[in-house]
């Protein structure tokens, strides 16, 4: 019989306001094996942990039940406390009476009753707990960064700086991401290219960094410290090692009408292209959807002009397999499609554009060489209306419920730069709220209003009406003066909400990393572990975790790198000792467990057994590779003869819990 101590936590008022904690401690005193039961305000505090440690010594406890928050939160804390007091850390069980009880119930009586039942189940389980010893597994000292925007670049550079190998997988032909399309960055108005392209070059030149451009992650297997990743290098029909990036093919290609994604489709590129002059790697790529040679075998112009013989129309997708100790997700974002926002006439008028399109129209490398001209007629716009929160903070169902966070600042930047360059242009900004809580952000916005004379109007635009003379009548409300406004504009700029890149969802499935309802990756803890996924060994960098501007993205990217460096610096990782175990006497060699095991941890071998009549028989039985098993428990459910058991979660322990709940 175990000697069990029960410790009921108040968690301030988090638990104690809904659960009568004293009654729980009192009720559990009578459970079999319980020799001590008490409550305390904050069990996770030093004093709370000391209470557990001292009680273990004083009462000679062999098992501990803590009724508190989710084990995800503090199981480690309490296991360590128990260990320091001399008992095996796996003799500690948590009854989650916060997330699964006090937070979701209102009635004190029924919540208390449920908390007691959860406590009884934990006591019943700990009766059957046995000490477990964790093994160790090696760490592959190499990291993978998925996504080569500013987030991925910064993470990779920091990891490389610490001396570890790191690979970047980028699905576009070049690294750089969205920041390459931006002209200037708030609040200092320094040129985006001037601060980004040196980092891109650093990545290319750093011998610790390998860039897989025009590539995607195809498969992920393994676990923290030991991932095996398949990377699909998409055929670009150009030999990366031979191409010098001279660009002659991109001038000679006869297919001239391919919408140029780098300029948001506002001008055209060729079927063979280099996205922009500072691309890294600076290697041409053939767009198979448009190339005449690839489509019908008639052309070959680029191949004729290439002086180094880099063009290879026969190139195929290839798969590269690599091992990594840690994976960083930096998949970034896209502006949402505005097709559902017909009131703004985005699909109906060329002069209604998104902010990212505006960014290209003011960029020296853009379709107008940086001169702000209307897309419809190439004339200079004299009145510009900016609309904020298009699809952000939107509960109508067309857009996103969250705030996209970056739009207030970039709209202030656009408005200010327009007024500076074209003082004859009237600029209006319609907003719900102006949110500028960042270092030097509010000062920046005030400069736009006070020094540059941008008309900020609180209210939303209800309708944009294209007229026969090419102007846009903007109908809006001014909430402060309670008036309806009609403004004749030449250009309307919509601050479209941002959303995670579409590739994120399938990637999350491969990584078994969790996401929220908006497809942003979930962090292990929203405050205390913001750059880690709940899945061990997966880290988060940039907007894939939630909307962020560049300074925040870079901070988080470096934070993710620090976590990766901390992991890779270890030679061994402690394994989870809660792994499956086969009872060879009961195993009938049916292979059911082997088939369901997602990690390939189960193998079969022939073994000799002594039979009751003193003969020996050879039987085929399962055995589990403890270094590979992740303790998911699939095999224990699949096994028809009950031979598979999960240490720490054995069939008998789970039945004991169920019995205690149903009693």
């Amino acid at each position: 019989m175990q000697k069990i101590g029960v410790f009921v936590c108040h968690c301030g008022t988090n638990i104690a306001a809904t659960v009568d904690v004293k009654a729980v401690a009192e009720a559990l005193k009578g459970e079999p094996g319980v020799v001590f039961s008490t409550d305390y305000q904050y069990m996770c505090s030093e004093a709370g942990q000391n209470l557990i440690k001292n009680s273990i010594k004083e009462y000679g406890l062999t098992g501990v039940v803590v009724c508190s928050c989710s084990p995800r939160m503090h199981e480690q804390t309490f296991r360590k406390a128990a260990q320091s007091a001399g008992i095996n850390p796996y003799m500690v069980e948590i009854a989650n009476i916060r997330e699964q009880c006090s937070w979701i119930h209102k009635d004190i009586w029924s919540a208390t009753e449920k908390a007691i039942i959860l406590g009884k189940a934990a006591v019943a389980k700990v009766q059957l707990n046995a000490p477990l010893t964790a093994g160790e597994s090696p760490v592959v000292k190499r990291a993978l960064v998925i996504g080569g925007g500013i987030a991925g670049i910064q993470t990779a550079l920091d990891i490389a700086e610490a001396g570890f190998e790191v690979d970047i997988v980028e699905k576009q032909p070049t690294i750089g991401g969205k920041m390459t399309q931006i002209d200037k960055t708030f609040p200092t108005l320094d040129c985006a290219a001037c601060i980004l392209t040196p980092k891109m070059v650093d990545c290319a030149q750093n011998e610790k960094i390998k860039i897989y451009s025009y590539s995607e992650v195809a498969d992920v297997k393994g676990f923290v410290g030991n991932f095996t990743v398949k990377i699909k290098k998409k055929a670009r029909y150009v030999d990366e090692d031979k191409c010098t990036g001279c660009g002659i093919c991109t001038e000679k290609c006869p297919v001239k009408n391919v919408p140029n994604e780098f300029n948001m489709g506002m001008d055209n590129r060729r079927a063979i292209y280099i996205p922009f002059a500072q691309a890294v790697p600076k290697v041409a790529t053939i767009d198979a959807n448009y190339c005449n040679m690839l489509k019908n075998g008639k052309c070959g112009v680029c191949s004729k002009f290439c002086t180094v013989g880099a063009i290879d129309y026969k190139q195929q997708d290839t798969i590269v397999e690599e091992k990594y100790g840690a994976i960083v997700v930096a998949t970034g974002f896209n502006p949402i499609k505005l097709d559902d926002f017909d009131e703004f006439a985005y699909s109906q008028s060329k002069d209604v554009i998104t902010s990212l399109e505006f960014e290209r129209l003011t960029n020296a490398a853009g379709p107008t060489s940086g001169t702000l001209l209307r897309p419809s007629d190439g004339k200079h716009p004299h009145t510009i209306v900016f609309v904020q929160c298009v699809g952000s903070r939107d509960t109508s169902g067309c857009g996103k419920t969250y705030c996209s966070k970056i739009c207030c600042m970039y709209t202030a930047k656009h408005a200010m730069l327009t007024r500076e360059k074209y003082p004859d242009t009237d600029v209006y900004v319609f907003y719900i709220d102006v949110r500028t809580p960042g270092k030097n952000f509010d000062e920046f916005y005030r400069r736009a209003v006070e020094e540059y004379g941008v008309h900020y109007i609180k209210g939303m635009v209800g309708k944009v009406v294209p007229r026969s003379d090419g102007t846009l009548m903007v109908q809006a409300s001014d909430l402060l003066s309670n008036e309806q406004l009609h403004i004749n504009a030449d250009l309307v700029v919509l601050a479209a909400a941002i959303e995670p890149d579409k590739s994120a969802r399938s990637l999350a499935t491969m990584l078994t990393a969790s996401m929220d309802t908006n497809d942003f990756f979930t962090e292990a803890h929203p405050k205390l572990r913001p750059v880690e996924s709940p899945t061990a060994g997966i880290f988060l960098s940039g907007v894939c975790q939630g909307p962020k501007d560049i300074p925040e993205t870079v901070s988080q990217a470096s934070a993710a790198a620090a976590k990766v460096i901390g992991l890779l610096a270890k030679d061994k990782l402690t394994c989870n000792p809660c792994v499956a175990q086969a009872n060879e006497l009961m195993c009938n060699g049916c292979s059911s467990c082997e088939k369901v095991c997602p990690y390939g941890a189960i193998t079969y071998s022939d073994k000799e057994f002594r039979m009751p009549d003193r003969t020996t028989a050879i039987r085929r039985v399962a055995s589990v590779n403890e270094a590979v098993c992740q303790g998911c428990g699939a095999c224990t459910v699949a096994c028809p003869s009950g031979a598979m058991d999960l240490k720490g979660f054995s069939n008998s322990q789970i039945m004991a819990e169920v019995d205690a709940i149903c009693k």
Binding site: F341, D342, E343, A345, Q348, G397, K463, V464, V465, P466, R467, S468, D469, M473, Q475, H486
Partner: protein
């Protein structure tokens, strides 16, 4: 095909043409509209308030009568259509409203939003079909540039009325094509005409209606059609000098089908 029909008060007084041409056209299209016996005023805009039960009751009676007849309920006036569909949705989805209304009315069978309410235009699109109408047209409006004026009530709230995309609708444009005309798409076609504000602030209603007509004319419309008596009133009364006549869509339909008087 027999369908229940809810005309509404305005169609018996100010908007007799909307009703008359609607009935004649329906007959020509092989549809019998059976007027609900003893229907009462839908309550105008008041039933749209969530905390009002009494004003919803007349709509519930009409909806229950159509249910008893086992027929879909057709409306013609934009406002009645809006009110009936919204009250129907309340009865289907809001237990509190449905409970109170049912307890008060004490109907022989409780009503919980079972009736399918459709606007006359939906009847044309879904029950008759615009292609069929095209075949039956005797006097097509060939060469006429006609602007559809939806107003604000006919389509919104889109999730409840489920008639067409409120921000970029096409049902009336398809109707115009069916009667042989050329639809003029102008962005202000789904904006408010000023509505009841005209009783209180003529200048504001004037401004609103003016914006609609100005935009319709600018985009080349010779005439406008509408399904709403109040829209027709505001567009005709509050604006001078635009020279864009406004008609009920049923009048054009009757004319096209050759049953106008």
């Amino acid at each position: 095909m027999i369908l229940s029909y809810y005309p509404g008060c305005t169609l018996k007084t100010k908007a007799k043409d909307l009703d008359r041409y609607g009935r004649k056209s329906a007959e020509a299209l092989g549809i019998t509209l059976e007027e609900i016996p003893d229907w009462q005023c839908c309550g105008g805009v008041y039933p749209i308030a969530k905390d009002e039960i009494a004003t919803k009751l007349s709509s519930v009676r009409a909806l229950a009568a159509a249910k008893a007849a086992g027929q879909d309920l057709v409306t013609l006036c934009s406002a009645c259509h809006n009110v009936l569909k919204q009250v129907n949705n309340d009865m289907k989805t809001d237990e509190e409203i449905a409970g109170k209304a049912n307890r008060y009315l004490g109907l022989s069978e409780e009503y919980h939003g079972e009736t399918n309410v459709i606007h006359y235009l939906e009847m044309l699109r879904d029950k008759v079909g615009f292609d069929k109408i095209k075949e039956l047209v005797k006097n097509p409006f060939t060469g006429k540039k006609i602007g559809a004026y939806y107003g604000c009530l006919l389509l919104r709230p889109g999730k409840v009325l489920k008639m067409d995309n409120p921000e970029n609708p096409k049902i009336m444009e398809d109707f115009i094509r069916a009667i042989g005309g050329t639809p003029v798409i102008y962005p202000m076609r789904n904006e408010c005409c000023g509505g009841y504000v005209t009783l209180e602030d003529k200048a504001l209603a004037n401004k609103r209606s003016g914006k609609v007509l100005e935009n319709a004319k600018d985009m080349g419309a010779d005439m406008l059609i509408t399904a709403c008596p109040l829209c027709l009133y505001n567009l005709n009364k509050n604006t001078d000098g635009y020279d864009v006549p406004v008609y009920y869509f049923t009048e054009l339909l009757a004319e096209a089908l050759g049953v106008k008087d």
